[in-house]
């Protein structure tokens, strides 16, 4: 088995969606031995990027198993669809960035796996621009440090 890959196609005029839109698409796996595919996971998710640790949340998740007696030939087009949530919107900030993508993860027999993803944008938020901090000497700051907590 050589050069296995995943092709993901989103149905729509562009890769930009609005909250509440339906995200629809299809994928297929280019592989010589389709029987070697044990499980395929389809996720629509957002993750953060930037200065902080990466956070990730899955909006849509589906697991298609090939080991339950029903063989699915992943070389054929596999559709997926989900209604996008109201938030969080895609954002290209200075130290916090939020990305949305469809990620397909393929698990093969003997513990091997590979994945592919297709990014898309949720909403049309302009990129963040750093604002210079105003000096405020001798100010008693009443706002304590509050680290992000969920």
């Amino acid at each position: 088995m050589t050069d296995s890959s995943i092709r993901i196609r989103l149905i729509g005029d562009s890769d930009c969606y609005e909250p509440g839109d339906t995200l629809a698409g299809e994928f297929f796996v280019e592989i010589d031995e389709p029987e070697a595919i044990r499980v395929v996971e389809i996720s629509a998710l957002w993750y953060t990027e930037g200065k902080g640790e990466e956070d990730l949340a899955v909006h849509f998740f589906e697991r298609v198993a090939n080991d339950n007696g029903e063989f699915v030939d992943m070389r054929q087009s596999q559709p997926f669809t989900t209604k996008l949530p109201a938030s969080p919107l895609s954002y290209d900030g200075v130290i916090v960035k939020i990305h949305w993508c469809v990620r397909i993860r393929v698990f093969l027999t003997r513990g091997r796996e590979f994945s592919g993803e297709r990014s898309f944008q949720l909403g049309r938020v302009p990129a963040g621009v750093a604002v210079a901090q105003e000096p405020s000497p001798d100010v008693e700051d009443e706002a304590g440090d509050h680290a992000p907590q969920q």
């Binding site: 996971e41 930037g50 200065k51 902080g52 899955v58 209604k83 938030s87 919107l89 938020v125 009443e142």
Partner: protein
């Protein structure tokens, strides 16, 4: 992500639990079970005065009743000295004495002997300790099996699957109480800032922190410090009165007394600086707020002071938490600042608070509030004031901004 350290820890728990379980079963549970199930009941006679034996093990004394009895089994006569099969000894002498006193020389009592080895007999068959001992390895096994299972699952399950399952279990509890969390995922709870109605407008914005805490913590610190110093001063004076004056102690206390006085002076100075600065109140006509929409604001400042300058800004700040070695560091960056109010030489009297009405408009297309475990985007109204002859202050009032367009909701 699970670490190899967790894997080793839970494996060790499992191993310790398994070994301890095997040994306890072999040494205690099986013999006790045999006493209960297979030993034959008969009658014995105490043939010596019951006594007590003191056993010292690792500097700890234990007491054991010594009872000698005679019994007949399988056509023979045997002498027994075992009270129970675990050969129990007690740290309390009273407990051992109670057992000893319950047996009298020449009296007859029931006993149980092993039909496979009639020379083995006990006076007490119901010791439940052996079964209770099982709780220790069971706890280790539970931690080991549970932890190892979870760790192995973390190693084998994809990050997306783990996230989906964690969200699913969290959302079952959360969404029942908070429909907003489902409507606007990854946005802070709106209920936290809309719980307080305003007197003039719909909502009163909460303040991010209270200045009083600073005063309180300095006050507690000054109290504890001076209480300790006073204790030592009394000790030194007491010795002096008894004619045993410890001048070294008295002199070494001087810098501590000085620090105590400085703390009290600092506390009083801070109290005076803060006195007269009343609370700031901001009310808003709608909350949460949406980009592109306009809201009415009421800004009120009470107290008795002269504000050299008062500035109120709408700010958006990004915050990111990251690990640097063992430290967790928070980085922040303001990405939007817009002036809402700017005034100078504002005189405020006790009976006449300063009030201003303003309109607030979150810019079109602005990013909404966002909250995840390590990242946050927050909006706030930041109040900064320079006060004549008193301490300057800054107070933040968080705002929740939600996306303007939400086609996922039926009625927006």
């Amino acid at each position: 992500m699970a670490s190899f350290g967790e894997l080793i820890l839970f494996s060790a728990c499992l191993l310790i639990g398994a070994i301890a379980m095997s040994l306890i079963i072999l040494w205690f549970v099986v013999p006790q079970w045999r006493v209960n199930r297979h030993f034959v009941r008969t009658e014995c006679q105490v043939i010596r005065h019951p006594g007590m034996k003191k056993i010292v093990e690792q500097d700890t004394s234990y007491w054991q009743p010594t009872i000698t009895y005679r019994y007949r089994a399988k056509g023979g006569t045997f002498i027994g000295r075992t009270y129970d099969l675990l050969d129990s000894r007690y740290p309390s002498r009273k407990k051992a004495e109670l057992i000893k006193d319950s047996y009298q020389l020449g009296q007859k009592y029931p006993c149980w002997y092993d039909p496979l080895d009639p020379g083995t007999a006990v006076l007490f068959s119901g010791n439940p300790l052996a079964y209770w001992l099982l709780l220790v390895p069971v706890a280790f096994l539970a931690i080991g099996v549970g932890g190892l299972g979870y760790t192995l699952w973390q190693f084998t399950a994809s990050r997306e699957r783990r996230a989906a399952m964690a969200q699913s279990s969290a959302s079952r509890e959360l969404f029942e109480d908070d429909p907003g969390a489902k409507k606007f995922p990854a946005i802070p709870r709106v209920e936290d800032v809309t719980g307080s109605p305003g007197t003039t407008l719909a909502f009163r914005l909460p303040i991010a922190a209270r200045l009083g805490w600073q005063l309180f913590s300095i006050g507690v610190g000054a109290l504890c410090w001076n209480a300790l110093v006073v204790l030592f001063v009394f000790l030194a004076i007491g010795k002096l009165m008894d004619g045993q004056g410890d001048w070294v102690l008295l002199i070494s206390l001087l810098p501590f007394i000085g620090a105590g006085i400085w703390l009290v002076v600092h506390l009083l100075r801070l109290f005076w600086k803060m006195s007269g600065i009343g609370p700031t109140r901001i009310e808003i006509s709608g909350h949460p707020v949406k980009p592109g929409r306009e809201y009415n604001l009421l800004i009120a400042q009470t107290g008795t002071m002269l504000l050299e300058n008062l500035e109120i800004h709408l700010e958006c700040e990004e915050e990111a938490v990251f690990q640097q070695g063992t430290n967790s560091i928070t980085a922040s960056q303001v990405v939007w600042r817009q002036e809402v109010f700017n005034g100078a030489e504002i005189s405020i009297d006790a009976g006449q608070p300063f009030e201003q009405r303003r309109s607030l408009r979150i810019p079109d297309g602005a990013m909404h509030s966002f909250l995840s475990r390590h990242n946050r985007i927050s909006w706030r109204l930041s109040v900064q004031a320079k006060v004549a002859k008193r301490t300057d202050y800054r107070r933040d009032f968080p705002l929740i901004v939600v996306p303007a367009r939400d086609r996922s909701a039926p009625n927006d």
